[in-house]
Symmetry: C2
Subunit: 137 residues, 2 copies
């Protein structure tokens, strides 16, 4: 509900700085809290959660729901990257828990198909394919 940040606070800057140091890495809300606590600048967990929601809305970070039993993951989005071209799909192995990143043009056709035939605008950042990876099959 408080999607947009109105004030520039120290906590917000700390969080953004932290994410900038871990590009391409999936971190959970707990990871963020732990890291900040271990370093110089602890932030209350409710503040962390509230900022994570805002930063997702602003497109500064992405949120991934990888596994329903574990915590949500957040990842920094580099501001100078043209994100549209960087669509990334995820496959999660139900057995070993491995997470596979896919950059595949053919998978983009799924989006087009869902759009044209089913009138559904799929969001690749939130969609995860569940199944079995090669080594677990």
């Amino acid at each position: 509900m408080n999607s947009r940040s109105k004030y520039k606070t120290k906590q917000r800057e700390i969080l953004i700085s932290y994410f900038e140091t871990v590009p391409g890495v999936h971190v959970t809300a707990g990871d963020v809290c732990d890291y900040l606590k271990a370093h110089e600048a602890p932030i209350g967990q409710s503040t962390v959660y509230r900022h994570l929601e805002s930063l997702v809305d602003e497109g500064i970070i992405k949120k991934y729901i990888i596994d329903e039993k574990s915590a949500a993951c957040y990842e920094y989005v580099a501001p100078d990257s043209h994100v549209d071209a960087e669509i990334c799909f995820h496959c999660k192995c139900e057995k070993c828990g491995k997470l596979i990143h896919l950059h595949c043009d053919e998978l983009n056709e799924i989006q087009l198909h869902l759009m044209s035939d089913h009138h559904f605008k799929m969001d690749p950042m939130r969609t995860v394919f569940y199944g079995l990876c090669e080594s677990c099959m």
Copy 2:
């Protein structure tokens, strides 16, 4: 872990009977508990959860993780249906929360593609496409 039922108990029969009365409907563990409590036969929630796990393993019901913030959904599988042909995909609207069921052959190609090109065996029952539905776009 206790995947297979060894004893035939009253609670197990009640649960199966309940699911038979709601074919094609998604119910949560809480729904089951509430329904049974409102009727003649309440069952302890831990027993419900334990049976749900067993029934999923036995293929009597299917489990869907639709939304990471809400409870898992369970659905009865008719025993006389040839389930292999009944693959069903789900689309979940992130805005209005609507759940859309898709029976589409073209989507089956995703499975084949993931299998042949990425060596990943996708599980349609667990995979949900997130995005925006027609009315929310």
